[in-house]
Symmetry: C2
Subunit: 307 residues, 2 copies
């Protein structure tokens, strides 16, 4: 894609997001070896639409979605009011992914890359990748964060520390005093500011999108043949319960979508096939489940973690 | 209980809620015939505490809770500010129930009765009972609403129509455009107003508490021996998913509790043992599942319903 000599338009960005969706779906299908994505194309009455792609009952993937959308129209009145803005149209496009694997030794992953602009000229990029292992495995956590840091460092050494902390703070289940998983990176409102051009911001966002497959597929490879017991599956269902709690209670993106009459089935593709709740469940002392709980904390430096 | 000649105190009200919890737990245990309630007594750092009682893996009940609490202390600063009030202590006591049965032909039920007062003299009662059938059965819905109407009518003919509408509006899953179930009654801020004394309000609340067992146990009796297939169980899991969505996204009580650092395990006792999500599930035309979906609407007059 040639973006250096011309202004970077919303259409170019959106097209790149479409190609990212295509690429990720293809790689996940190949890796899974069984399930295929089912696509629902949808239109938004007020402008734009999307391609929701859902996968289920695979060899490796139990349930997941890789969604692309590009919606536009007048900014909602209440948001204009809150931001003290005059009438404005918006355009929002992005890719959003959640994968719930079958084997509890493979982590849940979430990625989102997005672009937003208004007719008044304001624009920004946002996104991130974060990992939710049912069982925290130090080596995997280190690899995952190293991949993200490498991607960030290519663009700015300030990115990883800042966006890693942002993920710790964002993916926090306040009522459980637990993080959703081992974090990752989260960023928002990246614009032509802090010395970055629009092209530089987009280059970074493209790299985040491109690091998804090599990172997650490595975690597939390393863990997909691990044996597990019914008690591991039970624990996975409980951890998925916490995932549901985060997404429905605290996730601002989910809340915004449900509040503004977004496409419910596309938004809630993030929920697992099955989740369980057991009153006041406490893992056994010294168990891998207890180890996991002890590592669902903010501010763990996974790259240099020595236990 | 003698409350006519003396002022009705928060301690008297709270004691009655305790006795209600005892009575309901005993009746549910007897009816279930297998599972027993497990009690956790807890204390709140800032004042008061509660008795959380959980039941699981019974003959009839898969998971449920019957909670009593009486908490007090200084009103949170942000709430005082929002209500434009000076410093004040509060006292809040109540009983809260959710029962998830094993057999999908038995409905989920929720009841809550509560009392709130501040040291400035403000007080009110709130509460309600609502029913969430996995399968809407007309006869059951009619019986349920008739029981509530009879209870309301003893106190005021204005109660049932008003509180039935309030339940329709409250137990609404906005992002699904569905009600959580077939409604019931919901009321709040019942005080010494609209011509009612504090005692009259409490008499009504006691009657609501007392109608719980005869109503729900009748629905147990009528449905507990009905046969069901795995597809009925699958549908139950999907409906429980909707129950989770309502409670975590829209229920103001749950939100308030989680936001104000309430006891998470007591608040989230309302969640089912197992819930499922399937992307864009559509029931078969003419099926009882489709019939159910068609009846998860506001403003159905169940008492006079003729199909």
């Amino acid at each position: 894609m040639e973006t250096t000599k011309t202004a970077l338009t919303k259409e170019q960005i959106s097209l790149w997001f479409q190609s990212l969706q295509d690429d990720i779906c293809q790689q996940l299908e190949t890796e899974d070896g069984n399930a295929k994505f089912h696509q629902d194309k949808w239109e938004r009455a007020a402008g734009g639409g999307g391609r929701t792609r859902i996968i289920a009952d695979g060899n490796i993937i139990e349930k997941g979605g890789v969604n692309y959308s590009a919606v536009h129209g007048p900014m909602p009145e209440n948001i204009l009011k809150a931001l003290n803005l005059p009438k404005n149209d918006f355009y929002a496009t992005g890719v959003s992914i959640v994968i719930h694997p079958k084997n509890p030794m493979i982590p849940i992953i979430h990625m989102n890359v997005r672009y937003f602009e208004m007719t008044n000229g304001t624009y920004w990029f946002g996104g991130g990748i974060d990992l939710t292992p049912h069982y925290v495995i130090e080596k995997d956590a280190q690899f995952f964060h190293q991949q993200l840091k490498n991607t960030c460092d290519k663009h700015s050494e300030a990115y990883y520390p800042k966006f890693k902390k942002w993920a710790d703070d964002y993916f926090y289940i306040k009522h459980r005093k637990e993080t959703r998983g081992i974090g990752g990176i989260f960023f928002d409102r990246l614009s032509s500011n802090d010395g970055f051009s629009k092209k530089e911001r987009f280059d970074f966002v493209m790299d985040v999108g491109n690091i998804f497959c090599p990172t997650y597929l490595q975690l597939f490879h390393d863990n997909k043949d691990k044996a597990y017991l019914s008690e591991n599956k039970e624990w996975q269902f409980l951890r998925r319960g916490r995932y549901v709690e985060f997404n429905l209670v605290w996730d601002k993106g989910t809340k915004f979508g449900l509040d503004t009459d977004g496409r419910t089935e596309s938004i809630l593709m993030s929920l697992p096939a099955t989740a369980n709740w057991v009153y006041n469940f406490k893992p056994k002392a010294g168990s891998p489940e207890e180890y996991t709980l002890q590592h669902l904390k903010k501010e763990i430096d996974w790259i240099n973690y020595t236990g």
